[in-house]
């Protein structure tokens, strides 16, 4: 069975984000970019499944500008067998990404797709679910544990939900999105980074995959959240009621 893992190149989680002065978005010029941490977890899970003998190949997929190849190389260094780069300029929203993934699934025919639950730049938490919808595949999102049964072609997924843990049984092929506690991703070792250089990365354009990247969404403005105002220490309950009534006007 082949596993496809979608990985996204995002601003590194340790970087202090700044909004561009023209308010069209976040500053990404001269800013460190890395693999989305949830995508790292997704890739790690795929690698563990392969290492346990339940999958034959792990394919890492990334979409975006030419530099996505760097992110793919990191994935290959972690242990993915092949990379796929869909080169596209401009913002790609979850529905577009999901459509491209659907096209790639028709080419690659994986038995399992694993994605991070969300990207740390837009926090959308939509792509995995949309892919499952487009493919009519079952989905196990926010996975904190994954156990495959190759014979029965099932995936047992423990999900972190608000009320606790929910366990689902999914028929393969299926879509899984990963949550933080699923695993701790491995480091890419130096020898593996070197080996990764010779692993193949196939390139596509969205047109070749018959996907129109034009989006129905348009970002109008991006601003920083308003600065938190200092609190005020009050001296009595009467003063509190007075302020709530006359200043905040909530009572």
């Amino acid at each position: 069975m082949k596993i496809m893992v979608a990985i996204k190149r995002v601003v590194d989680y340790a970087v202090k984000i700044r909004v561009k002065s023209d308010r069209t978005g976040v500053e990404t010029n001269n800013v460190k970019m890395s693999m989305n941490p949830f995508c790292e977890i997704a890739l790690e899970e795929a690698l563990r499944i392969k290492e346990s003998g339940l999958a034959s190949e792990v394919v890492a997929v990334s979409m975006g500008p030419a530099q996505c190849v760097d992110t793919l190389r990191t994935g290959l260094a972690m242990g993915a067998d092949r990379g796929v780069h869909v080169e596209a300029a401009g913002q790609l929203y979850p529905l577009t990404v999901a459509k491209i993934l659907k096209s790639l699934v028709e080419v690659e025919k994986p038995g399992l797709i694993i994605l991070g639950k969300q990207a740390i730049d837009d926090d959308c938490n939509q792509t995995g679910q949309m892919v499952a919808g487009l493919l009519s595949w079952p989905q196990g999102t926010f996975a904190s544990k994954v156990v495959l049964d190759k014979e029965k072609q099932l995936a047992m997924v423990e999900r972190e939900v608000d009320g606790g843990l929910e366990t689902l049984e999914l028929d393969l092929p299926a879509v899984i999105t990963t949550d933080l506690r699923l695993n701790q991703p491995r480091y890419a070792t130096l020898p593996n980074i070197m080996k990764a250089k010779s692993k193949p990365i196939k390139k596509y354009t969205p047109q070749e995959l018959n996907v129109d990247v034009k989006s129905d969404l348009e970002v109008i403005q991006v601003t920083e959240p308003p600065k938190r105002k200092a609190g005020v220490i009050l001296s009595s309950v009467e003063e509190l009621i007075d302020k709530l009534k006359n200043e905040a006007r909530v009572i």
């Binding site: 590194d12 989680y13 340790a14 970087v15 202090k16 700044r18 002065s21 001269n30 800013v31 460190k32 890395s34 695993n183 701790q184 991703p185 491995r186 480091y187 070792t189 130096l190 020898p191 980074i193 070197m194």
Partner: protein
């Protein structure tokens, strides 16, 4: 567990100006002579340029030799110096002085950006660069010859146990090893001690300064690309050497900072707070009002000059760049000399590998190069300040205008920086103003802007040789100076359950500046390299 070993012709530790210049020069020589050498550069920062921070007014002399087409190849060197100001500051005023510098032909740059570009050039030539890997160990053969380095084991928990993702380090063996770790390089310092390299060249100890820097984005109307300013005087007193810099880059950005020599006496001095004070000076404040801080960082730099350069060749390799110490203090420039030293070491190394020559040639070519000429001319400026601020300025005037490089004497450095700290009882605590959150900031806010991070669950990389010294000596005798000179608030004295003050080491904050390794009065703090990929994330510094 046995470590994997990878073999190269040349292993270079540090992807900075010196390391990358050496790598590029090696590959150029290979092309010229139609041979090939495998060159590997390891870098502890998460990416090339992440740990690079410098003023920087760049003198392109070495780059013109290394990559003469740099302009056509779009090096990020775009802002020529347009004006050169020099002020003496008092608390309320600024007095303009004739500029002792000649910066015509130089450029205001971000060294982090330039180094990224150099990294790209090196990779184009076939150099293998591995960011995120920390060289933590020197490898020796049976004859005590250096045969390469070992990288850190990764995935070790705070208590020393192996985590789920434990990964053994690897050995990078090189027929030649070049150490380009920058000022107070951790492996370089070990090597210098091990092979007694300072004794070998009859060098004095190295002396240092701590530079603290911010990059701001200011109002368009106040921005003047290419304008540079240096100041002396306030907020530092007459006994403390140092000064500030303010350089206008492009894109409405300015670089400004304060450099404080680490041989200061008052244990209550807080270089970070002095920098915050500086920004409130009436001549500086208006420029910053309405602006925002883009990035913050700090790093120590060499001030020892010629007198402190160790013998830079050891069996199996050499030390290049600031790890040896080629910074020209009166010019306040070290990038061009670091690059040239890398190029000369590469040429010597190529001779070793290709023509069976000796690495000692590097020492000879260094001393016959413009690097040595410059450092010869510059050698008395800094030590002159051992006599105080005004006598120091007088001697500098003498050197600059009258002796013009023909000084018949060589001044010596004073005590090593760690010995220069007075006992706390000889001074009174300094009251620093509270940050206003607009021009001045507290350390955590600034630290956030350095994009610093380390994997939390790892052993602290700042080691105490004797764990009792902080509470027995540093705190009672010197009032815990590490809690003041560290620009990242790594060191804090906090009360424990018995209400006794104990040293707490917040290693995760570390900016890799090395100030603690240098200034600790009993030399009890040892800076060792943490897991690769951690530390600051400079991009425009």
């Amino acid at each position: 567990m046995c470590r994997e070993s990878m073999a190269y012709d040349v292993v270079i530790v540090g992807a900075g100006p010196a390391g990358l210049s050496a790598a590029i020069r090696l590959k150029q020589l290979c092309r010229e002579k139609n041979v090939d050498l495998s060159v590997c550069v390891v870098e502890k920062g998460a990416e090339v340029g992440a740990h690079i921070i410098s003023g920087n007014v760049f003198e392109p002399r070495a780059l013109n030799e290394l990559l003469p087409q740099w302009k056509q190849e779009e090096a990020p060197i775009r802002v020529p110096v347009s004006s050169d100001k020099f002020w003496f500051l008092t608390k309320d005023r600024a007095f303009s002085l004739p500029s002792p510098f000649s910066n015509r032909g130089n450029y205001v740059i971000s060294l982090s950006q330039l180094v990224r570009w150099l990294g790209g050039k090196a990779e184009e030539l076939g150099v293998e660069i591995y960011p995120g890997f920390a060289a933590s160990e020197i490898l020796y053969d049976a004859d005590n010859k250096v045969i390469g380095i070992g990288t850190n084991d990764m995935g070790i928990a705070k208590d020393g146990s192996k985590k789920e993702n434990f990964q053994r380090g690897v050995e990078l063996r090189g027929r030649i090893t070049l150490l380009a770790e920058g000022c107070r390089g951790s492996l370089s310092e070990k090597l210098i001690k091990n092979f007694k390299l300072r004794e070998k060249s009859h060098a004095q100890h190295q002396t240092y300064a701590l530079g603290i820097k911010e990059v701001w984005e200011i109002d368009e109307g106040k921005h003047n690309p290419g304008e540079i300013l240096h100041t002396l005087g306030w907020p530092l007193d007459q006994k403390t050497y140092g000064g500030s810099f303010l350089y206008h880059m492009n894109d409405r950005q300015i670089a400004l900072g304060l450099v404080v020599a680490l041989n200061y006496h008052n244990p209550f001095l807080n270089p970070y707070e002095e920098f915050q004070k500086f920004k409130h000076h009436p001549a500086i404040k208006p420029l910053l009002e309405g602006g925002t801080v883009v990035q913050y960082g700090a790093r120590t730099l060499n001030e020892g000059g010629l007198q402190s350069i160790p013998y830079p060749v050891f069996p199996g390799g050499a030390i290049i760049g600031c790890a040896a110490g080629f910074l020209n203090v009166p010019k306040i420039k070290g990038t061009h000399t670091a690059m040239k030293s890398g190029m000369l070491a590469a040429e010597a190394g190529f001779g070793v590998l290709h023509e069976d020559l000796n690495m000692e040639i590097y020492w000879d070519t260094l001393r016959n190069s413009w690097v040595w000429q410059e450092l010869q001319r510059a050698r008395n400026y800094r030590p002159a300040f051992e006599y105080g601020l005004l006598p120091g300025l007088a001697i500098c005037g003498l050197e600059h205008y009258i002796l013009r490089g023909k000084s018949p004497y060589t001044l010596k450095h004073g005590k090593p920086d760690y010995e220069a700290t007075d006992a706390a009882r000889l001074h009174s605590p300094i009251e620093y103003p509270k940050p206003d959150g607009v021009l001045s900031f507290d350390v955590p806010t600034s630290l956030h802007r350095s994009n610093t991070n380390h994997e939390h669950d790892q052993p602290a990389h700042l080691r105490l040789r004797d764990p009792k010294i902080p509470e027995l000596v540093n705190l009672p005798e010197y009032a815990g100076p590490e809690s003041r000179y560290c620009p990242a608030r790594v060191y804090e004295y906090v009360p424990d359950e018995k209400n006794q003050l104990k040293l707490q080491i917040n290693a995760q904050n570390c900016l890799h500046c090395k100030a603690c390794d240098i200034k600790d009065p009993k030399q009890n703090i040892e800076w060792t390299v943490p897991e690769g990929g951690g530390g600051p994330g400079y991009s425009v510094m």
